[in-house]
Protein backbone atom coordinates (compact mmCIF):
# COMPACT_ATOMS: atom_id res chain seq x y z
CA UNK A 1 0.00 0.00 0.00
CA UNK A 2 2.71 2.46 0.98
CA UNK A 3 4.51 1.54 -2.23
CA UNK A 4 1.41 2.39 -4.17
CA UNK A 5 0.99 5.70 -2.34
CA UNK A 6 4.56 6.72 -3.06
CA UNK A 7 3.90 6.52 -6.79
CA UNK A 8 2.46 9.95 -7.51
CA UNK A 9 0.73 8.85 -10.69
CA UNK A 10 -1.23 6.30 -8.70
CA UNK A 11 -2.05 8.64 -5.86
CA UNK A 12 -4.73 10.72 -7.52
CA UNK A 13 -6.80 7.83 -8.89
CA UNK A 14 -6.52 6.10 -5.54
CA UNK A 15 -7.75 9.12 -3.66
CA UNK A 16 -10.60 9.62 -6.09
CA UNK A 17 -11.59 5.97 -6.17
CA UNK A 18 -14.07 5.89 -3.27
CA UNK A 19 -16.19 8.78 -4.58
CA UNK A 20 -15.82 8.62 -8.33
CA UNK A 21 -15.55 4.86 -8.34
CA UNK A 22 -18.85 4.51 -6.56
CA UNK A 23 -20.54 6.84 -9.03
CA UNK A 24 -19.02 5.06 -12.01
CA UNK A 25 -19.93 1.63 -10.73
CA UNK A 26 -23.47 2.12 -9.50
CA UNK A 27 -24.65 5.06 -11.57
CA UNK A 28 -22.54 5.24 -14.70
CA UNK A 29 -22.47 1.48 -15.17
CA UNK A 30 -26.23 0.89 -15.31
CA UNK A 31 -26.69 4.07 -17.32
CA UNK A 32 -24.11 2.97 -19.87
CA UNK A 33 -25.53 -0.51 -20.17
CA UNK A 34 -29.05 0.94 -20.47
CA UNK A 35 -27.78 3.29 -23.17
CA UNK A 36 -26.12 0.43 -25.07
CA UNK A 37 -29.24 -1.67 -24.58
CA UNK A 38 -31.39 1.07 -26.02
CA UNK A 39 -29.37 1.01 -29.27
CA UNK A 40 -29.71 -2.71 -29.98
CA UNK A 41 -32.18 -4.84 -31.85
CA UNK A 42 -33.10 -8.31 -30.56
CA UNK A 43 -30.28 -9.84 -32.64
CA UNK A 44 -27.75 -7.40 -31.26
CA UNK A 45 -27.40 -5.15 -34.30
CA UNK A 46 -27.34 -1.34 -34.01
CA UNK A 47 -30.58 0.66 -34.32
CA UNK A 48 -32.14 3.98 -33.44
CA UNK A 49 -35.64 2.56 -33.85
CA UNK A 50 -36.46 2.56 -30.15
CA UNK A 51 -35.80 6.29 -30.02
CA UNK A 52 -37.60 7.11 -33.22
CA UNK A 53 -40.66 5.28 -31.86
CA UNK A 54 -40.72 7.59 -28.87
CA UNK A 55 -40.75 10.65 -31.08
CA UNK A 56 -43.10 9.35 -33.78
CA UNK A 57 -45.68 7.04 -32.23
CA UNK A 58 -48.73 9.07 -31.11
CA UNK A 59 -49.11 7.17 -27.81
CA UNK A 60 -45.42 7.72 -27.01
CA UNK A 61 -45.48 11.40 -27.99
CA UNK A 62 -48.56 11.80 -25.85
CA UNK A 63 -46.62 10.11 -23.03
CA UNK A 64 -43.74 12.52 -23.43
CA UNK A 65 -46.12 15.49 -23.36
CA UNK A 66 -47.92 14.05 -20.35
CA UNK A 67 -44.64 13.58 -18.50
CA UNK A 68 -43.79 17.22 -19.03
CA UNK A 69 -47.32 18.31 -18.09
CA UNK A 70 -47.25 16.22 -14.90
CA UNK A 71 -43.83 17.73 -14.21
CA UNK A 72 -44.76 21.36 -14.78
CA UNK A 73 -48.37 21.75 -13.63
CA UNK A 74 -47.92 20.52 -10.03
CA UNK A 75 -44.76 22.63 -9.66
CA UNK A 76 -46.61 25.77 -10.70
CA UNK A 77 -49.42 25.07 -8.25
CA UNK A 78 -46.98 24.13 -5.46
CA UNK A 79 -45.02 27.32 -6.03
CA UNK A 80 -48.15 29.44 -5.78
CA UNK A 81 -48.86 27.84 -2.40
CA UNK A 82 -45.30 27.53 -1.07
CA UNK A 83 -44.20 31.16 -1.43
CA UNK A 84 -47.10 32.63 0.59
CA UNK A 85 -46.74 29.74 3.03
CA UNK A 86 -43.04 30.51 3.49
CA UNK A 87 -43.80 34.14 4.19
CA UNK A 88 -46.51 33.14 6.65
CA UNK A 89 -44.20 30.80 8.51
CA UNK A 90 -41.66 33.62 8.85
CA UNK A 91 -44.16 35.74 10.74
CA UNK A 92 -45.04 35.13 14.33
CA UNK A 93 -48.50 33.71 14.85
CA UNK A 94 -50.20 31.58 17.44
CA UNK A 95 -49.51 27.90 16.86
CA UNK A 96 -46.60 28.62 14.52
CA UNK A 97 -44.34 25.99 16.11
CA UNK A 98 -46.97 23.27 15.82
CA UNK A 99 -47.74 24.31 12.25
CA UNK A 100 -44.15 24.35 11.07
CA UNK A 101 -43.74 20.86 12.48
CA UNK A 102 -46.96 19.54 10.93
CA UNK A 103 -46.54 20.87 7.41
CA UNK A 104 -43.43 18.73 6.96
CA UNK A 105 -45.30 15.47 7.56
CA UNK A 106 -46.10 14.79 3.87
CA UNK A 107 -42.34 14.56 3.27
CA UNK A 108 -42.41 11.19 5.00
CA UNK A 109 -45.41 9.74 3.16
CA UNK A 110 -44.65 7.56 0.08
CA UNK A 111 -46.22 8.54 -3.24
CA UNK A 112 -48.36 5.47 -3.45
CA UNK A 113 -50.00 6.23 -0.11
CA UNK A 114 -50.63 9.79 -1.24
CA UNK A 115 -52.30 8.43 -4.38
CA UNK A 116 -54.57 6.16 -2.34
CA UNK A 117 -55.37 9.04 0.01
CA UNK A 118 -56.41 11.21 -2.92
CA UNK A 119 -58.70 8.43 -4.15
CA UNK A 120 -60.28 7.98 -0.72
CA UNK A 121 -60.81 11.72 -0.37
CA UNK A 122 -61.66 12.96 -3.84
CA UNK A 123 -63.13 10.00 -5.77
CA UNK A 124 -66.80 10.34 -6.60
CA UNK A 125 -68.51 8.58 -3.73
CA UNK A 126 -65.38 9.20 -1.64
CA UNK A 127 -65.05 10.92 1.69
CA UNK A 128 -65.53 14.56 0.63
CA UNK A 129 -68.22 13.70 -1.89
CA UNK A 130 -70.28 11.94 0.76
CA UNK A 131 -69.63 14.67 3.27
CA UNK A 132 -71.02 17.42 1.03
CA UNK A 133 -73.80 15.31 -0.52
CA UNK A 134 -76.35 16.19 2.21
CA UNK A 135 -75.79 19.86 1.35
CA UNK A 136 -76.78 19.15 -2.23
CA UNK A 137 -73.25 19.40 -3.68
CA UNK A 138 -71.24 16.81 -5.56
CA UNK A 139 -67.58 16.66 -6.57
CA UNK A 140 -66.68 16.92 -10.25
CA UNK A 141 -64.49 14.12 -11.59
CA UNK A 142 -61.15 14.80 -9.90
CA UNK A 143 -59.52 11.40 -9.95
CA UNK A 144 -58.36 9.82 -13.23
CA UNK A 145 -59.83 12.88 -14.95
CA UNK A 146 -58.62 14.11 -18.33
CA UNK A 147 -56.79 17.13 -16.90
CA UNK A 148 -54.94 15.07 -14.35
CA UNK A 149 -56.33 17.08 -11.43
CA UNK A 150 -55.88 14.01 -9.23
CA UNK A 151 -52.20 13.77 -10.20
CA UNK A 152 -51.71 17.49 -9.59
CA UNK A 153 -53.44 17.28 -6.19
CA UNK A 154 -51.35 14.30 -5.10
CA UNK A 155 -48.06 15.75 -6.38
CA UNK A 156 -48.77 19.14 -4.87
CA UNK A 157 -49.61 17.59 -1.54
CA UNK A 158 -46.27 15.83 -1.61
CA UNK A 159 -44.22 18.74 -3.02
CA UNK A 160 -45.38 21.62 -0.87
CA UNK A 161 -43.40 20.68 2.26
CA UNK A 162 -40.15 20.21 0.35
CA UNK A 163 -40.62 23.41 -1.62
CA UNK A 164 -41.71 25.40 1.40
CA UNK A 165 -38.76 24.12 3.38
CA UNK A 166 -36.25 25.33 0.77
CA UNK A 167 -38.04 28.59 -0.01
CA UNK A 168 -38.48 29.40 3.67
CA UNK A 169 -34.79 29.03 4.31
CA UNK A 170 -34.04 31.11 1.20
CA UNK A 171 -36.17 33.96 2.57
CA UNK A 172 -34.91 33.48 6.10
CA UNK A 173 -31.33 33.91 4.86
CA UNK A 174 -32.07 37.52 3.88
CA UNK A 175 -30.96 39.78 6.75
CA UNK A 176 -33.77 41.73 8.37
CA UNK A 177 -31.88 45.01 7.89
CA UNK A 178 -31.86 44.55 4.11
CA UNK A 179 -35.63 44.27 4.10
CA UNK A 180 -35.87 47.32 6.34
CA UNK A 181 -33.46 49.21 4.10
CA UNK A 182 -35.92 48.72 1.24
CA UNK A 183 -38.68 50.25 3.34
CA UNK A 184 -36.53 53.19 4.45
CA UNK A 185 -35.80 53.95 0.78
CA UNK A 186 -39.44 54.44 -0.07
CA UNK A 187 -40.43 50.92 -1.13
CA UNK A 188 -43.73 49.58 0.13
CA UNK A 189 -43.93 46.14 1.70
CA UNK A 190 -44.93 44.68 -1.68
CA UNK A 191 -42.25 46.52 -3.66
CA UNK A 192 -39.62 45.41 -1.15
CA UNK A 193 -40.83 41.84 -1.60
CA UNK A 194 -40.60 41.90 -5.39
CA UNK A 195 -37.47 44.03 -5.88
CA UNK A 196 -35.39 42.95 -2.90
CA UNK A 197 -36.56 39.70 -1.36
CA UNK A 198 -37.54 37.67 -4.43
CA UNK A 199 -34.27 38.34 -6.31
CA UNK A 200 -32.28 37.43 -3.22
CA UNK A 201 -34.30 34.25 -2.64
CA UNK A 202 -34.18 33.30 -6.35
CA UNK A 203 -31.39 30.69 -6.13
CA UNK A 204 -33.39 28.82 -3.48
CA UNK A 205 -36.67 29.17 -5.36
CA UNK A 206 -35.07 27.94 -8.60
CA UNK A 207 -33.54 24.96 -6.83
CA UNK A 208 -36.88 24.04 -5.30
CA UNK A 209 -38.70 24.38 -8.63
CA UNK A 210 -36.23 22.32 -10.64
CA UNK A 211 -35.79 19.58 -8.10
CA UNK A 212 -39.53 19.10 -7.61
CA UNK A 213 -39.99 19.22 -11.40
CA UNK A 214 -37.50 16.40 -11.86
CA UNK A 215 -39.16 14.41 -9.11
CA UNK A 216 -42.72 14.76 -10.35
CA UNK A 217 -41.80 14.28 -14.01
CA UNK A 218 -40.30 10.88 -13.26
CA UNK A 219 -42.76 9.75 -10.64
CA UNK A 220 -44.66 6.54 -11.35
CA UNK A 221 -46.96 5.67 -8.45
CA UNK A 222 -49.08 8.82 -8.44
CA UNK A 223 -49.92 9.03 -12.18
CA UNK A 224 -50.47 5.28 -12.27
CA UNK A 225 -53.01 5.36 -9.45
CA UNK A 226 -54.82 8.68 -9.94
CA UNK A 227 -53.83 9.67 -13.50
CA UNK A 228 -56.22 9.60 -16.44
CA UNK A 229 -56.27 6.26 -18.32
CA UNK A 230 -56.15 8.16 -21.62
CA UNK A 231 -52.88 10.03 -20.99
CA UNK A 232 -50.11 7.98 -19.42
CA UNK A 233 -46.74 9.61 -18.81
CA UNK A 234 -43.53 7.97 -20.03
CA UNK A 235 -42.83 6.53 -16.58
CA UNK A 236 -46.08 4.57 -16.64
CA UNK A 237 -45.60 3.55 -20.29
CA UNK A 238 -42.14 2.30 -19.39
CA UNK A 239 -43.58 -0.16 -16.90
CA UNK A 240 -46.09 -1.32 -19.50
CA UNK A 241 -43.28 -1.93 -21.99
CA UNK A 242 -41.31 -3.65 -19.23
CA UNK A 243 -44.20 -6.01 -18.58
CA UNK A 244 -44.29 -6.77 -22.32
CA UNK A 245 -40.60 -7.65 -22.12
CA UNK A 246 -39.48 -4.93 -24.59
CA UNK A 247 -36.38 -4.00 -22.63
CA UNK A 248 -34.60 -1.95 -25.32
CA UNK A 249 -37.71 0.26 -25.52
CA UNK A 250 -37.71 0.67 -21.72
CA UNK A 251 -34.05 1.64 -21.86
CA UNK A 252 -34.64 4.20 -24.60
CA UNK A 253 -37.53 5.81 -22.72
CA UNK A 254 -35.44 5.86 -19.58
CA UNK A 255 -32.65 7.59 -21.46
CA UNK A 256 -35.02 10.26 -22.77
CA UNK A 257 -36.43 10.93 -19.27
CA UNK A 258 -32.91 11.04 -17.81
CA UNK A 259 -31.74 13.38 -20.58
CA UNK A 260 -34.57 15.72 -19.64
CA UNK A 261 -33.64 15.64 -15.96
CA UNK A 262 -29.97 16.21 -16.76
CA UNK A 263 -30.81 19.10 -19.09
CA UNK A 264 -32.87 20.72 -16.34
CA UNK A 265 -30.07 20.23 -13.81
CA UNK A 266 -27.48 21.68 -16.19
CA UNK A 267 -29.75 24.65 -16.82
CA UNK A 268 -30.04 25.07 -13.06
CA UNK A 269 -26.30 24.97 -12.47
CA UNK A 270 -25.48 27.45 -15.22
CA UNK A 271 -28.26 29.74 -14.00
CA UNK A 272 -27.21 29.72 -10.37
CA UNK A 273 -23.53 30.05 -11.15
CA UNK A 274 -24.36 33.08 -13.27
CA UNK A 275 -26.38 34.55 -10.39
CA UNK A 276 -23.46 33.73 -8.12
CA UNK A 277 -21.13 35.67 -10.40
CA UNK A 278 -23.52 38.58 -10.52
CA UNK A 279 -23.40 38.65 -6.75
CA UNK A 280 -19.73 39.13 -7.29
CA UNK A 281 -17.12 36.91 -5.75
CA UNK A 282 -14.56 39.46 -6.89
CA UNK A 283 -11.62 40.51 -4.83
CA UNK A 284 -12.38 43.19 -2.28
CA UNK A 285 -10.04 46.11 -2.56
Amino acid sequence: MSMLLRDRRMLLPLLLAPGVGYLLLFFGGPLASAFIGSLRLEDGSFTLDWYSRIFTRPSMLRGLGTSIYFGVAPVVVSLLVSVPLSLAIRRHFVGRKLFSGLYKLPLAVPGIIVGLMIIVLFERGGFIDRAIAPLGFGLPKLVRDDWGVGVILASVWKQIPFMTLIITSAFAAIPEDIRFAGRTLGASRLATFFFVEVPLAMPGITAAVLLTFIGSMGSYAIPDIVGPPTARPLSVLMVEEFNLGRFPQVFAMGMVLSAFAVAVLVAYYTLTSRIGDAHGRGDAR
Binding site: I178, A181, T184, L185, G186, R189
Partner: protein, 355 residues
Protein backbone atom coordinates in the same frame (compact mmCIF):
# COMPACT_ATOMS: atom_id res chain seq x y z
CA UNK B 1 -37.36 75.45 14.73
CA UNK B 2 -37.08 71.84 15.65
CA UNK B 3 -37.18 69.43 12.74
CA UNK B 4 -37.66 66.31 14.82
CA UNK B 5 -39.68 66.29 18.03
CA UNK B 6 -39.83 63.06 20.01
CA UNK B 7 -42.29 63.18 22.90
CA UNK B 8 -42.62 60.55 25.63
CA UNK B 9 -41.78 57.57 23.44
CA UNK B 10 -41.90 54.27 25.29
CA UNK B 11 -41.09 50.77 24.15
CA UNK B 12 -41.93 47.51 25.86
CA UNK B 13 -40.63 44.14 24.74
CA UNK B 14 -43.09 41.85 26.46
CA UNK B 15 -42.83 42.62 30.13
CA UNK B 16 -39.50 44.44 29.97
CA UNK B 17 -39.37 48.15 29.26
CA UNK B 18 -36.58 49.12 26.86
CA UNK B 19 -37.54 52.81 26.69
CA UNK B 20 -39.02 54.78 29.56
CA UNK B 21 -40.72 57.93 28.32
CA UNK B 22 -38.00 59.45 26.15
CA UNK B 23 -38.23 62.96 24.72
CA UNK B 24 -35.75 64.84 22.61
CA UNK B 25 -35.64 67.22 19.71
CA UNK B 26 -33.33 67.91 16.79
CA UNK B 27 -33.21 71.33 15.15
CA UNK B 28 -33.09 71.82 11.42
CA UNK B 29 -29.54 71.20 10.15
CA UNK B 30 -28.37 70.04 13.56
CA UNK B 31 -26.21 66.97 14.19
CA UNK B 32 -27.42 65.30 17.39
CA UNK B 33 -25.85 62.18 18.83
CA UNK B 34 -27.49 59.71 21.16
CA UNK B 35 -24.71 58.36 23.34
CA UNK B 36 -25.05 55.51 25.77
CA UNK B 37 -23.74 52.10 26.69
CA UNK B 38 -24.73 49.08 24.66
CA UNK B 39 -28.25 47.87 25.49
CA UNK B 40 -29.53 51.23 26.72
CA UNK B 41 -32.17 51.47 23.99
CA UNK B 42 -30.48 53.63 21.34
CA UNK B 43 -31.31 51.35 18.42
CA UNK B 44 -34.83 50.78 19.70
CA UNK B 45 -35.42 54.53 19.67
CA UNK B 46 -33.89 55.03 16.23
CA UNK B 47 -35.94 52.20 14.72
CA UNK B 48 -39.10 53.67 16.17
CA UNK B 49 -38.27 57.05 14.61
CA UNK B 50 -37.66 55.27 11.28
CA UNK B 51 -40.89 53.32 11.58
CA UNK B 52 -39.42 49.83 11.32
CA UNK B 53 -40.31 49.19 14.92
CA UNK B 54 -43.54 50.16 16.69
CA UNK B 55 -43.50 52.36 19.78
CA UNK B 56 -45.59 51.39 22.78
CA UNK B 57 -46.53 54.99 23.46
CA UNK B 58 -45.70 58.62 22.72
CA UNK B 59 -45.55 60.63 19.53
CA UNK B 60 -43.07 61.80 16.91
CA UNK B 61 -43.25 64.91 14.77
CA UNK B 62 -41.10 65.65 11.75
CA UNK B 63 -41.20 69.16 10.28
CA UNK B 64 -44.29 69.78 12.38
CA UNK B 65 -46.25 66.80 11.05
CA UNK B 66 -47.08 63.79 13.14
CA UNK B 67 -45.37 60.75 11.59
CA UNK B 68 -45.57 57.99 14.18
CA UNK B 69 -48.55 56.37 12.44
CA UNK B 70 -46.97 56.39 8.96
CA UNK B 71 -45.17 53.39 7.43
CA UNK B 72 -41.40 53.93 7.05
CA UNK B 73 -41.60 54.53 3.29
CA UNK B 74 -43.79 57.59 3.84
CA UNK B 75 -41.81 59.28 6.61
CA UNK B 76 -39.23 61.12 4.51
CA UNK B 77 -36.40 59.78 6.67
CA UNK B 78 -33.38 57.81 5.48
CA UNK B 79 -31.22 55.54 7.58
CA UNK B 80 -27.67 54.22 7.56
CA UNK B 81 -27.53 50.82 9.22
CA UNK B 82 -24.75 49.39 11.35
CA UNK B 83 -24.65 46.41 8.96
CA UNK B 84 -24.83 48.83 5.96
CA UNK B 85 -27.71 46.68 4.62
CA UNK B 86 -26.68 47.21 1.00
CA UNK B 87 -28.64 45.22 -1.56
CA UNK B 88 -26.18 42.45 -2.46
CA UNK B 89 -27.76 41.75 -5.86
CA UNK B 90 -27.39 45.31 -7.10
CA UNK B 91 -24.39 47.33 -8.22
CA UNK B 92 -23.38 50.45 -6.32
CA UNK B 93 -25.26 52.60 -8.79
CA UNK B 94 -28.38 50.41 -8.62
CA UNK B 95 -28.24 50.63 -4.85
CA UNK B 96 -28.24 54.43 -5.04
CA UNK B 97 -30.97 54.46 -7.70
CA UNK B 98 -33.32 52.13 -5.82
CA UNK B 99 -34.84 54.72 -3.51
CA UNK B 100 -35.12 57.32 -6.27
CA UNK B 101 -37.00 54.86 -8.46
CA UNK B 102 -39.31 53.97 -5.60
CA UNK B 103 -40.06 57.66 -5.09
CA UNK B 104 -40.60 58.22 -8.84
CA UNK B 105 -37.88 60.83 -9.15
CA UNK B 106 -37.39 61.93 -12.77
CA UNK B 107 -34.58 60.21 -14.68
CA UNK B 108 -32.45 63.32 -15.17
CA UNK B 109 -32.80 64.27 -11.52
CA UNK B 110 -31.86 60.68 -10.50
CA UNK B 111 -28.73 60.97 -12.59
CA UNK B 112 -27.79 64.33 -11.13
CA UNK B 113 -28.28 63.25 -7.51
CA UNK B 114 -26.43 59.97 -7.97
CA UNK B 115 -23.45 61.67 -9.58
CA UNK B 116 -23.37 64.25 -6.79
CA UNK B 117 -23.59 61.65 -4.01
CA UNK B 118 -20.94 59.47 -5.66
CA UNK B 119 -18.65 62.45 -5.76
CA UNK B 120 -19.08 63.74 -2.23
CA UNK B 121 -18.83 60.23 -0.79
CA UNK B 122 -15.66 59.60 -2.84
CA UNK B 123 -17.14 56.63 -4.68
CA UNK B 124 -16.23 57.80 -8.16
CA UNK B 125 -15.29 54.88 -10.41
CA UNK B 126 -17.04 52.26 -8.29
CA UNK B 127 -20.52 52.60 -9.78
CA UNK B 128 -20.60 49.16 -11.41
CA UNK B 129 -19.06 47.25 -8.49
CA UNK B 130 -21.12 44.80 -6.49
CA UNK B 131 -21.20 45.44 -2.73
CA UNK B 132 -19.13 42.30 -2.10
CA UNK B 133 -16.35 43.74 -4.20
CA UNK B 134 -15.98 46.70 -1.85
CA UNK B 135 -14.01 47.17 1.34
CA UNK B 136 -15.80 47.91 4.61
CA UNK B 137 -15.11 51.62 4.35
CA UNK B 138 -16.39 51.75 0.78
CA UNK B 139 -19.53 49.83 1.70
CA UNK B 140 -20.10 52.30 4.49
CA UNK B 141 -19.81 55.18 2.03
CA UNK B 142 -22.27 53.52 -0.35
CA UNK B 143 -24.75 53.15 2.51
CA UNK B 144 -24.28 56.83 3.27
CA UNK B 145 -24.62 57.88 -0.39
CA UNK B 146 -27.75 55.76 -0.72
CA UNK B 147 -29.31 57.69 2.16
CA UNK B 148 -28.11 61.09 0.95
CA UNK B 149 -29.59 60.81 -2.57
CA UNK B 150 -33.02 60.66 -0.96
CA UNK B 151 -32.55 64.23 0.33
CA UNK B 152 -34.65 63.33 3.36
CA UNK B 153 -35.87 65.64 6.08
CA UNK B 154 -33.86 63.58 8.55
CA UNK B 155 -30.88 61.25 8.37
CA UNK B 156 -30.56 58.46 10.93
CA UNK B 157 -27.30 56.67 11.70
CA UNK B 158 -27.13 53.54 13.86
CA UNK B 159 -23.48 53.06 14.88
CA UNK B 160 -22.38 53.26 11.23
CA UNK B 161 -18.66 53.18 12.06
CA UNK B 162 -18.59 50.44 14.65
CA UNK B 163 -17.74 47.64 12.19
CA UNK B 164 -14.59 49.37 10.95
CA UNK B 165 -11.06 49.28 12.29
CA UNK B 166 -9.87 52.15 14.45
CA UNK B 167 -7.93 54.04 11.80
CA UNK B 168 -10.67 53.91 9.16
CA UNK B 169 -13.21 54.86 11.81
CA UNK B 170 -11.20 57.97 12.52
CA UNK B 171 -10.96 58.96 8.85
CA UNK B 172 -14.63 58.36 8.19
CA UNK B 173 -15.60 60.26 11.33
CA UNK B 174 -13.92 63.33 9.92
CA UNK B 175 -15.42 62.76 6.48
CA UNK B 176 -18.87 62.47 8.03
CA UNK B 177 -18.47 65.74 9.90
CA UNK B 178 -17.20 67.49 6.79
CA UNK B 179 -20.06 66.05 4.78
CA UNK B 180 -22.58 67.21 7.35
CA UNK B 181 -21.15 70.73 7.19
CA UNK B 182 -21.47 70.63 3.43
CA UNK B 183 -25.01 69.31 2.97
CA UNK B 184 -26.39 70.41 6.33
CA UNK B 185 -28.78 67.47 6.63
CA UNK B 186 -30.57 67.20 9.95
CA UNK B 187 -28.98 64.14 11.53
CA UNK B 188 -29.64 61.86 14.48
CA UNK B 189 -26.63 59.68 15.14
CA UNK B 190 -26.32 56.76 17.55
CA UNK B 191 -23.08 55.58 19.09
CA UNK B 192 -21.65 54.07 22.25
CA UNK B 193 -18.28 55.70 21.56
CA UNK B 194 -17.88 58.90 23.57
CA UNK B 195 -14.92 60.13 21.53
CA UNK B 196 -16.99 59.79 18.36
CA UNK B 197 -19.91 61.62 19.96
CA UNK B 198 -17.74 64.50 21.17
CA UNK B 199 -15.91 64.89 17.87
CA UNK B 200 -19.00 64.95 15.67
CA UNK B 201 -21.97 66.40 17.46
CA UNK B 202 -23.61 69.78 17.84
CA UNK B 203 -25.42 68.29 20.82
CA UNK B 204 -25.23 65.00 22.66
CA UNK B 205 -28.14 63.18 24.26
CA UNK B 206 -26.75 60.90 26.95
CA UNK B 207 -28.87 57.79 27.52
CA UNK B 208 -28.72 55.04 30.07
CA UNK B 209 -31.06 52.15 30.82
CA UNK B 210 -33.83 53.40 28.54
CA UNK B 211 -33.80 57.01 29.77
CA UNK B 212 -32.36 60.31 28.66
CA UNK B 213 -29.88 61.31 31.34
CA UNK B 214 -28.67 64.66 30.10
CA UNK B 215 -28.54 66.80 26.96
CA UNK B 216 -25.92 69.36 26.03
CA UNK B 217 -23.12 70.41 23.74
CA UNK B 218 -20.00 68.23 23.93
CA UNK B 219 -18.20 71.03 25.77
CA UNK B 220 -20.94 71.54 28.36
CA UNK B 221 -21.29 67.85 29.04
CA UNK B 222 -17.54 67.34 29.35
CA UNK B 223 -16.68 70.46 31.33
CA UNK B 224 -19.70 70.71 33.58
CA UNK B 225 -21.79 67.58 33.57
CA UNK B 226 -24.77 67.73 35.89
CA UNK B 227 -25.21 63.98 36.17
CA UNK B 228 -22.74 61.54 37.68
CA UNK B 229 -23.45 59.13 34.80
CA UNK B 230 -22.52 61.73 32.20
CA UNK B 231 -19.34 62.64 34.02
CA UNK B 232 -18.28 59.01 34.20
CA UNK B 233 -19.28 58.10 30.64
CA UNK B 234 -17.69 61.04 28.82
CA UNK B 235 -13.96 60.73 29.25
CA UNK B 236 -12.12 59.93 32.46
CA UNK B 237 -13.01 61.51 35.74
CA UNK B 238 -12.69 61.28 39.52
CA UNK B 239 -16.09 60.99 41.18
CA UNK B 240 -15.62 62.15 44.78
CA UNK B 241 -18.08 62.03 47.65
CA UNK B 242 -18.17 65.37 49.50
CA UNK B 243 -19.88 66.92 52.47
CA UNK B 244 -21.00 70.44 51.67
CA UNK B 245 -21.77 73.35 53.88
CA UNK B 246 -22.36 76.74 52.31
CA UNK B 247 -19.98 77.39 49.43
CA UNK B 248 -17.41 74.95 50.78
CA UNK B 249 -17.13 71.19 50.74
CA UNK B 250 -14.83 68.68 52.37
CA UNK B 251 -13.19 66.12 50.10
CA UNK B 252 -12.96 62.55 51.49
CA UNK B 253 -9.51 63.20 52.96
CA UNK B 254 -10.61 66.39 54.64
CA UNK B 255 -9.32 68.99 52.19
CA UNK B 256 -11.62 71.99 51.60
CA UNK B 257 -12.69 73.00 48.06
CA UNK B 258 -14.90 75.76 46.64
CA UNK B 259 -18.32 74.90 45.27
CA UNK B 260 -20.11 76.62 42.40
CA UNK B 261 -23.20 77.23 44.54
CA UNK B 262 -24.48 76.93 48.09
CA UNK B 263 -25.25 73.43 49.25
CA UNK B 264 -25.60 71.41 52.40
CA UNK B 265 -25.08 67.75 53.26
CA UNK B 266 -23.55 64.91 51.32
CA UNK B 267 -23.03 65.16 47.56
CA UNK B 268 -20.75 64.22 44.72
CA UNK B 269 -18.33 66.18 42.55
CA UNK B 270 -16.55 65.23 39.33
CA UNK B 271 -12.97 66.38 38.88
CA UNK B 272 -11.30 65.66 35.54
CA UNK B 273 -7.74 64.28 35.80
CA UNK B 274 -6.39 67.17 33.73
CA UNK B 275 -7.96 69.83 35.95
CA UNK B 276 -6.02 68.70 39.02
CA UNK B 277 -2.62 70.35 39.35
CA UNK B 278 0.25 68.15 40.50
CA UNK B 279 3.67 69.19 41.73
CA UNK B 280 6.41 67.16 43.36
CA UNK B 281 7.25 68.34 46.87
CA UNK B 282 10.79 69.23 47.84
CA UNK B 283 12.70 66.35 49.35
CA UNK B 284 13.66 68.67 52.16
CA UNK B 285 9.97 68.91 53.08
CA UNK B 286 9.72 72.68 53.40
CA UNK B 287 6.08 72.87 52.33
CA UNK B 288 4.98 69.83 54.29
CA UNK B 289 1.54 71.28 55.11
CA UNK B 290 -0.14 70.53 51.78
CA UNK B 291 2.19 67.69 50.80
CA UNK B 292 1.98 65.21 53.58
CA UNK B 293 -0.88 62.89 52.60
CA UNK B 294 -0.53 62.60 48.76
CA UNK B 295 1.82 60.01 47.26
CA UNK B 296 2.30 58.92 43.64
CA UNK B 297 1.22 55.27 43.44
CA UNK B 298 1.75 54.76 39.72
CA UNK B 299 2.42 56.56 36.49
CA UNK B 300 1.84 55.79 32.86
CA UNK B 301 3.37 57.88 30.15
CA UNK B 302 0.83 58.58 27.37
CA UNK B 303 3.03 60.61 25.06
CA UNK B 304 1.37 64.02 25.16
CA UNK B 305 0.68 63.67 28.85
CA UNK B 306 1.45 61.57 31.88
CA UNK B 307 -1.32 59.88 33.84
CA UNK B 308 -0.63 59.54 37.56
CA UNK B 309 -2.42 57.48 40.11
CA UNK B 310 -2.16 59.41 43.36
CA UNK B 311 -3.00 57.93 46.76
CA UNK B 312 -4.48 60.44 49.15
CA UNK B 313 -6.15 59.19 52.30
CA UNK B 314 -8.16 56.14 51.23
CA UNK B 315 -8.73 57.55 47.75
CA UNK B 316 -6.91 56.81 44.51
CA UNK B 317 -7.05 59.85 42.22
CA UNK B 318 -6.38 59.96 38.49
CA UNK B 319 -4.30 63.03 37.68
CA UNK B 320 -3.00 63.88 34.26
CA UNK B 321 -0.25 66.34 33.53
CA UNK B 322 0.43 67.66 30.06
CA UNK B 323 3.98 68.47 29.09
CA UNK B 324 6.17 68.48 32.18
CA UNK B 325 9.93 68.24 32.14
CA UNK B 326 10.26 64.93 33.89
CA UNK B 327 7.97 62.25 35.25
CA UNK B 328 7.43 62.20 39.00
CA UNK B 329 8.52 58.80 40.23
CA UNK B 330 6.18 56.59 42.21
CA UNK B 331 6.66 56.97 45.95
CA UNK B 332 7.23 60.74 45.85
CA UNK B 333 4.93 62.96 47.86
CA UNK B 334 3.09 65.53 45.76
CA UNK B 335 1.05 68.67 46.23
CA UNK B 336 -2.33 68.71 44.51
CA UNK B 337 -4.39 71.75 43.57
CA UNK B 338 -8.09 71.58 42.82
CA UNK B 339 -10.10 73.87 40.56
CA UNK B 340 -12.41 76.49 42.05
CA UNK B 341 -16.19 76.50 41.80
CA UNK B 342 -16.77 72.75 41.50
CA UNK B 343 -20.39 71.95 40.57
CA UNK B 344 -22.22 69.41 42.70
CA UNK B 345 -23.55 66.50 40.65
CA UNK B 346 -27.15 65.40 40.71
CA UNK B 347 -27.44 61.68 40.85
CA UNK B 348 -30.69 61.06 39.15
CA UNK B 349 -32.45 58.33 41.05
CA UNK B 350 -33.19 55.42 38.72
CA UNK B 351 -36.96 55.51 39.34
CA UNK B 352 -37.37 59.17 38.36
CA UNK B 353 -38.62 59.75 34.85
CA UNK B 354 -36.15 61.34 32.48
CA UNK B 355 -37.33 64.67 31.11
Amino acid sequence: MSMLEITDITKDYGASRALHPVSLSVDEGEFVTILGPSGCGKSSLLRIVMGISQQSGGEIRLAGKRIDMLPPERRDIAMVFQSYALFPHMTVEQNLRFGLRMKNVAKAEQQRRIAHAMEICTLTGLSSRMPRQLSGGQQQRVALARAIVMQPNLLLFDEPLSNLDAKLRDTLRHELVALHRRIGATSLYVTHDQAEAMAMSDRIVVMNAGRVIEVGTPLELYRSPRQAFTAGFLGQTNLLAVTASGRKAHLPWGQLVDLAEDAAGPGQVSVRPESIGIRACDRGGRDTGSCAPATVAGVSFMGASALYTVAIGDTLLKVSQAGGDALIEPGRTVALSFPDRLPLLEDRAPDREAA
